[in-house]
Amino acid sequence: MKKTTILFSLLAFLGAAPVFLHAQSGGLDPADILKPLSDQWTSFSGDMTGKRFSPLKSINLNTIKGLGLKWANTSITTGCGPDGMGPAAAGGRGGGRGVAGLIVAGLGNGESNTCGPARFGGGMLFVDNTIYAATRDDVYSIDAHDGSVLWHYYWKFRGGTSTGTRGPSMWHNYIFFTFHDNYVVCLDAKTGKEVWKKEIAPFDQQYFSSNVPLVIGNHILVGPGNDMDAPAWLQSLDPETGAIQWTHYNTPQNPGDPGLETWKDLDAARHGAGTSWIPGSYDPDTHLYLYGTGNPTPSYTTGRGDGDNLFTSCLIALNVDTGKMQWYFQTSPHDTHDWDSTQTPILADLPFNGVTRKLVMMATRNGYFYVLDRVTGEHLITSKLGLVNNYASDIGTDSKLHLDARGQVRRNPQKDASVAGSVVNDDVLNHQPPTFSPDTGLFYVHETNSLRIDYLLEPDARGSMGLGGESSEAGINYGTFIDAIDYKTGKVVWRHQLSSGNVGLLSTAGGLLFTNDGQNFAAWDAKTGTPVWHTQIGGLSAPAETFMLDGKQVILASAGTGLYMFQMNQ
């Protein structure tokens, strides 16, 4: 090597060194993210198993009556307008107590941003006594001791499709977040200042993105959502630079790709979507990332052929180092009801038929519960949820299931959307995360029961685009419940009715189950479903979390009315 080259390389290294050293030291070690949930909350589900089960138990069935408010901050607001302060006529921006640095970014003009109370969604991180939480267009650092905002990163949204946020992620001293107009940003955790940003999908092609940039080791997994008939993918980025490490498409994109035979043709497969918009779970032993894919497009209608449309509405096991798929299980083959399988898979090592196995459990939007061997994809259990689930079997809870040899559900095609209308169950559940308690052996998930009529609006012989259908306006509601499912049998052990609510669940070693019931943030006995505690703070906007703050177990809840921290009264 020439001297000049050596000198140049040395200078380049020294120039990069501060960033490199800064990034690699302190903050959240990615190795800690792979550990079981403990004193912190380091990822969307708390840990990478997806269990949302905390081993903390000072708040338990015996002490829960003493759970009270530590603090509430009801004045944190979103940014809006060109400077984030909002139109003066609307009273400007509150920002909450202790408003510190406001960082304004984004490619829009601020007119597509919505002024109002911050309604945090998805996973909120708790690391080193700091909470990192997000709304659609805003990321916040919050002091966990009193709820004060430490910094606020405001993103001027370009517009387009808008859904909910799934929350931020953290790698060492970096905070990552995906904005809906397809930018992933990397922020300095201490200051909120931007380190890098990257557009992960073309806004011109009407992509939108909402998923957590999920940290697994030195990979940041990102992927867009979309409602156009367009390709969908999962991509791994370098956490320090945003450089692409690998890309995995969720449907066939080239001649010879596996699964192409399940589509009408290559063009249909390329436009078949299968977006992944909810974080999956990760098994560090096998390096498998298990995640769900969305429904095929066009969603309700024709144009995809009669095949299964792989790998949409699937549970996929992907090697996170290579981006190669190891196995798949399709939870809604040839979906025709907009039933994404983007629910959180839960990983656990449990006894099954007398042998401890590495399992993955998943309840999906079409109202079915599955247990598989997560190493091999071997099917173990399929069971039906819902009181009026009729899309693949007769109505009722005990009707015979229509399954194929792999245990995959086979729909009744006459329950597809039709011009004259088809009576079919609505979504039995959605993306709101379930929880699994190893102590009770029960998998807990929300269940919604209603019937609707699905209509085909666009019987175009060429196949339709996008929607192509609609539902009857109201439907008939048969109630919302928490279901507790025995993973060994797939049977619902108990079902507790809620007045309303579907935000996701948390279970603890204290024998408790937390979620909201209408206007209440509430707790139940995880074994029996007996209500044991509640407080009326309004409907939650994100599932509750628990961790240790200054040596005490605390519980964090975000409601539409504010952010609340609970602890045991002295």
Partner: protein, 320 residues
């Protein structure tokens, strides 16, 4: 985030609630003009028995996008009428036979341009020109023609609906007929399953005339919603509750709220009564759902091929 139910149908995370940013900010007069033009073309085509793909979207507002914000296609300034008319003529002569009038493609001949990444990402004809230069069969156009075609395609993209919907909700203008059932079979089923609560010559007399069309009637009777009367008929709505206190006192009224911890009633005299349930001994609450019979009916009529649904609708449609 509230949204119209019809948009709830989309795939993806929409079930949580979609807002199509800027959708409500569409310049209505332009949109109406475009949709009207499309509807007229559709109606004419259908009336003539030629269900050719329609509409040819009409250029709307040169110099402005169709929406104030949102995806690029909606905010992109449209070209002048001259350019768009020229682009349309060029498209019709050079592209339409394989990509169809509505740019959604012709099976076996040409792909859909409406969902084409090339068209969507094109800024000013550069990507479309590049694609045309490689086109097979060869299409030789001068730069101005490429630009005119691209501007015309962008004007169509601008009228596309939300969540991947093509321009218009029924661009083919196909009649969507829900009256496919057997009215006589529906009458027989109605008399067997519904007559204990409803009568064709009583409360259901003239029921069909209360709805805008047969589809609205089907949705209405299935959901149990009568226009102007609300769910459950008679405008009563809501659960009825009887609360028996430990001392034997009872309260009856419409349940405003009921969870594990409280029941709130609106009593017959218009007063509100809140009763805690997390006390010992707890009051006893009996809830009566005015839709209970209707809910059972909806389960009972479910059959694998939806025949009962269609038959009942066909029968009720005769009650005008």
């Amino acid at each position: 985030m509230p949204k119209k139910r019809s948009y709830r149908m989309a795939h993806g995370p929409c079930r949580e609630g979609y807002i199509i940013e800027g959708y409500i900010m569409i310049r209505k007069k332009y949109l109406i003009a475009a949709l009207f033009a499309g509807t007229v073309i559709a109606a004419l085509s259908y009336a003539q028995g030629t269900p050719t793909p329609v509409p040819d979207p009409v250029p709307i507002a040169p110099g402005k996008g169709v929406r104030d914000n949102g995806f690029t296609q909606y905010t992109r300034p449209l070209a002048s009428q001259d350019v768009l008319i020229r682009g349309k003529a060029l498209y019709n002569s050079s592209c339409r036979s394989c990509h169809s009038a509505d740019i959604r493609g012709v099976p076996g001949k040409g792909n859909s341009l409406l969902r084409s990444g090339v068209v969507l990402s094109d800024k000013a004809g550069e990507l479309i020109a590049d694609s045309l230069a490689k086109h097979n069969p060869k299409i030789n156009l001068v730069e101005a023609d490429n630009l005119a075609i691209s501007e015309y395609l962008h004007s169509i993209e601008a009228t596309a609906g939300p969540q991947g919907s093509p321009p218009g909700r029924n661009p083919m203008g196909i009649e969507l007929n829900v009256l496919v059932g057997d009215a006589k079979a529906g009458e027989a089923y109605f008399l067997k399953a519904c007559a204990s609560c409803h009568s064709p010559i009583g409360d259901m007399k003239g029921i069909a005339s209360k709805y805008a069309d047969a589809k609205a009637l089907q949705n209405g009777w299935f959901d149990g919603i009568v226009p102007g009367a609300g769910r459950g008929g008679g405008g009563r709505g809501g659960m009825q509750a009887t609360v028996t206190m430990p001392n034997g006192t009872t309260f009856e009224g419409r349940s405003i709220r009921k969870d594990d911890y409280i029941v709130i009633l609106m009593l017959a005299d218009g007063t509100r009564k809140s009763i805690p349930l997390d006390v010992t001994p707890a009051p006893k609450v009996d809830m009566k759902d005015p839709q209970e019979a209707h809910k059972k009916m909806a389960i009972a009529i479910d059959d694998p091929d939806n025949k009962n649904l269609h038959d009942i609708t066909a029968f009720l449609w005769t009650l005008k």
